[in-house]
């Protein structure tokens, strides 16, 4: 297969798997957060801070793969198509 086709598929796979991972992770995290707030509503501010911190950690690797995938799609493919 041509190099450009493979690169596009690679970018798409990175984006897709990253999206699945981030969605499942953030969904579980949000569910636990809501459960915790339902049990003890007075802890809402503290739990919200912790939510954002853990959100950043869960989102890190999917975001890194999004960054790399967009770089591959928009910066690597044109140079591959032009130079080969």
């Amino acid at each position: 297969m041509e190099l450009a086709v493979l690169l596009y598929v690679a970018g798409a796979v990175m984006l897709g798997l990253g999206a699945v991972g981030a969605a499942v992770g953030v969904g579980v995290l949000g569910g636990k957060f809501l459960e915790g707030v339902a049990r003890q509503p007075e802890l809402l501010p503290m739990l919200r801070t912790q939510l954002f911190i853990v959100l950043g950690l869960v989102d890190a690797v999917p975001m890194i793969s999004v960054g790399i995938a967009l770089y591959v799609i928009f910066a690597v493919v044109p140079t591959a198509v032009a130079g080969g």
Binding site: G56, D59, A60, M63, S65, G67, A75, P78
Partner: protein, 279 residues
């Protein structure tokens, strides 16, 4: 710019840094294209990222210094109010996470938070304004968001990593630090395996710190550029609402990423100061 450029050329132009370095034939110049910038190898510097990062750092110091010098115990003005809010926020944050004695941590957390926030904030300016203005002055490429440059984010993460190592060795000694890597979490007989696991964890800290910020900001800027492409097509009327929507979401992202970078820095340094008391 009289000639029309294709959409991928437009994207390429917006993704290219202004790189100054040594070309393969030996003389030093600004790179004309991404391929040329790559040929410069290690001896090149992204002048636009460095320039904007330093400018925003100086702006932060100037603003906060001005608020501090004009601080009054009476009714505060807006600048003093804003600066006080941020400082109290960082003070609470660091106080709850970092329980050891170190005068560097809170100012560093403040610097990281506000500086990264300012650098990320540049992403909210419309994509074409500053690069076009730079083009009129003869500068071929200009990326105004330093944190979309992995050099900047990984450089900051590397500085944090050096501090982690320095404080770990200072608190625990070289033997103590290496022992902590080798003897946790499995018993001493599995020392090489422990060392490998703990080594990976240790290296993952600066790498994830730098790349997390880079990935978020690069993806955000990329989407701004892609939506900006719509203005030249039939769907131009959709461009403004989409830019607005994405910019509103991005406001959350830039604050969150600045916050996470500074919180994780404080957490990692607190871990570095943590001397295990058992055995």
């Amino acid at each position: 710019m009289a000639e029309t450029e294709s959409s991928s050329e437009y994207i390429q132009h917006h993704l290219t840094n202004l790189t100054f370095g040594r070309l393969p034939d030996g003389h030093w110049a600004f790179a004309d294209s991404a391929a040329q910038a790559q040929s410069m190898g290690f001896w090149s510097i992204n002048v636009d990222s460095m320039g904007w990062a330093l400018t925003l750092g100086v702006l932060f110091v100037f603003l906060f210094g001005r608020a501090a010098r004009r601080a009054t115990a009476g009714v505060p003005g807006p600048l003093q109010n804003g600066v006080e809010m941020i400082i109290e926020f960082i003070d609470d944050l660091v106080g709850s996470i970092f329980v050891y004695k170190n005068d560097l941590i809170a100012p560093m957390a403040l610097t990281i938070f506000v500086w990264v926030f300012f650098m990320n904030l540049m992403d909210l300016l419309p994509v074409d304004w500053l690069p076009m203005a730079a083009g009129w002055m003869g500068i071929p490429h200009m990326k105004v968001v330093p944190t979309t440059d992995p050099n900047v984010t990984l450089g900051m993460a590397l500085a944090v990593f050096v501090l982690i190592l320095y404080y770990s060795v200072r608190r625990k000694g070289v033997g103590g630090f290496l022992g902590e890597l080798a003897f946790h979490p499995f018993p001493k007989i599995l020392a090489p395996f422990n060392f490998f696991l703990e080594g990976v964890t240790l290296l993952a800290k600066p790498l994830s710190l730098g790349l997390r910020l880079f990935g978020n900001m690069y993806a955000g800027e990329m989407i701004f550029v892609l939506i900006a492409l719509m203005y030249s097509s039939f769907w131009a009327f959709l461009g403004a609402p989409m830019q607005l929507g994405w910019a509103l979401f991005h406001v959350l992202i830039i604050t969150l990423q600045a916050f996470i970078f500074s919180v994780l820095t404080v957490v990692y340094l607190a871990q570095a100061h943590d001397v295990a008391e058992e055995h």
